[in-house]
Structures are given as structure tokens and as C-alpha cells.
């Protein structure tokens, strides 16, 4: 015989209303943070994917996940850091799956004419090399580099956002920039090390 439980219809309705009221309150709290954090999610995704449409998709996906899990977040003050991590992971996943789909030509292996750094910085070729160099960075270094490059983010804020000591942030930023420079050095005129 099937097991049955007792339920009170009127109390059940009240419980349902209370649940809906709590849900509405939660949504209101989430929407207050949305205006500020929406751009943060987009920029993190843009830094990884370098494509506006893809970044917007990933940012929306991240915000949606954040909304669904918002009730479980104990420290609401850590929302920004939490959203950054969700977005960064999603963007990395998207970038990896995109890589698997398309076979890209290996520009690193191709001989390129050397130019001055001023010319290279503005050229689309330099941007392409920089993009590949960014992809080759470890996630830890890349996240620090991207957050530090965002407008209005000081190193202290990056440290607070990631919950890291300021020394660790500086160290990661140093190694990230150094690795990028090493990979891009081959394209600079009169540079001996390649």
C-alpha cells in the first residue's frame, strides 16, 4: 500500500505564499546588484573570449546561474567575487569548446616580419599574437591580469575580490606580464631572445 502524508490545504497555501514572497525579496536583492555586476561579468568574459557576442552570452549564463544559486550564498558581500569566478570558469569552458570545434592555424610557427613595438601594439597581428599568448597563460595568472586591467580596479581591489594577499596578486601580475612579453618578443625588431 502506498504511503500517505497529512497536509493541510489552507496552511499549504500560506506556505506557498510565504515562499513566493521570499522569492520576490531575493529577486529584488539580486536585481540591486545586477546593474553593477552585469558589466563586471561581461568584462571578465570579454577578457577571456575577446568576442562581444560570446562574452554577452557567457555573462548572461553566469548571471543566470548566480541568480539561481543566490539564495545559497551565505556572504552576500562576496557576491562580486563569486560572480567573477563563475563567469571566468564559464568563459574558459566556452573558449575550450570553441577551440575544439575549429582548427586554428598556428601563427606562432609562421615566420612574421619584425617591426617596432609601437607599430605592433596597434596592429591586428599583434592583437592576434597577444590573444594566443593570453590563452596560454594559466587561469590563475590570467584572472589576475584581466581584473587588474579593468578600469577602476586597483591591485588592492583585485586582492579583495579574489581573497588573496596583495603580495600574491603583485607576484601573479608580474609573472603574467613577463610570460606575455616573452611570447611576443619574437615580433619585436632587434630583439635577440626568441
Amino acid at each position: 500500500m502506498q504511503e500517505l502524508v497529512l497536509t493541510q490545504p489552507s496552511r499549504a497555501a500560506e506556505t506557498e505564499w510565504a515562499r513566493e514572497a521570499a522569492s520576490a525579496e531575493l529577486r529584488s536583492e539580486f536585481e540591486q546588484r545586477l546593474a553593477e555586476c552585469g558589466s563586471l561579468a561581461f568584462r571578465v568574459a570579454r577578457g577571456v573570449l575577446r568576442n562581444t557576442a560570446d562574452a554577452e552570452d557567457v555573462a548572461q549564463e553566469a548571471l543566470l546561474r548566480a541568480y539561481h544559486q543566490f539564495a545559497r550564498l551565505r556572504e552576500r558581500t562576496r557576491f562580486r567575487a563569486w560572480l567573477v569566478r563563475i563567469t571566468f570558469r564559464l568563459a574558459l569552458d566556452r573558449a575550450r569548446s570553441a577551440k575544439r570545434r575549429e582548427v586554428r592555424e598556428t601563427l606562432w610557427a609562421q615566420p612574421v616580419p619584425r617591426a617596432t613595438t609601437e607599430d605592433l601594439a596597434a596592429s591586428s597581428e599583434f592583437q592576434a599574437h597577444l590573444a594566443r599568448a593570453l590563452d596560454a597563460l594559466s587561469p590563475k595568472l590570467r584572472l589576475v591580469l584581466l581584473l587588474a586591467a579593468m578600469e577602476g580596479h586597483t591591485l588592492d581591489e583585485v586582492a579583495a575580490l579574489l581573497g588573496l594577499p596583495i603580495g600574491t596578486v603583485k607576484s601573479r601580475l608580474f609573472f603574467a606580464r613577463k610570460q606575455l612579453a616573452e611570447k611576443l618578443r619574437c615580433h619585436v625588431k632587434n630583439t635577440k631572445k626568441c
Binding site: 493541510q8 568584462r43 586591467a149 578600469e151 608580474f174 613577463k178 612579453a181 618578443r185
Partner: protein, 225 residues
Amino acid sequence: MSCEKYQEVLIDLAASGAEPVGVVRSHLDGCAPCRTYLKEQQTLLAAVDSGVRQTVNAPVPASLLQRFGARLAQQTAPRHSQSARWMYAGAALAAAATLVLFLLPNLRSPSSKQRSPVASSAQHAIAAQKADSTAPLKTATRPVQQPGKRSRTPAPNPEPEILVPPDERIAFERFLSDLNGREDLAVALVKPLHEQREQRVVSLETPNIEIAALTVQPITENTDR
């Protein structure tokens, strides 16, 4: 001193943004190629920083939050989703089955005055809903108590209770909350059962079975043996 030895130091200086001091400073003062090399590294890193900033600080599309709002509204509308419809259908079936369980004794003996309090309260609820369609269902389910009268029997639970399967409880609660604003649906759920009570006992008609005549024949013995 060889310039090769200073190259790594110069790269680190450029990457950290620090100023050269001590031996490195004095070497740079006397070595033009190393000064050029340091300058190149600083320019390269400035280009890298510029490129990263350009990538990250791209303008945020104005449609980002609008599209997100629309997507959120689409996803947080469970009443229109297919799964929710199935859930409500299951809850409606459970509610109908529960009402049948409680109303069955009354249907069998409509003249009987001794009715279970739960069943009578349920019927009272339906009657109240028919009489006053504006009142919500939950107010109608309260049993009527006569003032000044006290009985020895324990006071019944002011709220009626219904038995439902455990895995359908939440769906049932949602179904009931929706039902509060729709008295017509509440009545319609019970009405067909009430009308069908006479049709429940129907004589079973079976076609006549014809049995063919059975002929018994003795088994012929094997004569070869």
C-alpha cells in the same frame, strides 16, 4: 662584464616597473645596447598592457541587462513550463483521488446522518464555494462551531487535513494555492464524481457462451505390439 648576463634582469625590471639600482644602474649608464634593450622591453610590456586593457574594457552592450531580464523572466515562469503542467496534472489527480476517498462513504449512504467530520467539512467547503464564489477556498473549509456549546469530544483540528503521497505533497500544495482563486475549478473537480455515483453500479453484460458437444472416443490400441 657581458651584456647577456643582464638581459634577464632587464626583463624583470621592465615587467615589475621598478627602477634599476646598484650594479645594474651603473652598467646601464655605460652600455647603450642594454639601455636600448630595456627600452624595448618596456615598450613591449606597455603594448601588452594596452592590448589587454583594450580587450577587457570593451564597451558593455546596452542590451545585456535587458536580454538577461527577458531570459530570467522566461526561466522563472514555472506555471507555463511543460514540467509544471505535468506536476499540476499529477496533483489534480491526487486531489481528485483524495476527495473520492473521503466522499465515498457519504455517496454510499446519502441518508446517513453520521458523517465523518472531514468529509462533511469538505462537502461544506464545496457548498460554501457554490454559495459565495468570491470567498477563497481556505476560509470556507473552516468547520462551523456553534457558540456556547461545548462537547466532551476533543476539539477537531480547525483546519482539514488531507492524505497525499509524500512525493506529491509540494505539487499538491501549489495546486491548492492556485485553486484558491478558482472556485469553478474546485467545484468542477468534485462535480463529475458526484454525478457519476449512480453510474458506478452497472450490470456486467457478457455474451452467451456456447459449449460445443464433447464426444469421447476410446483410444485405439496399437496392434503391432
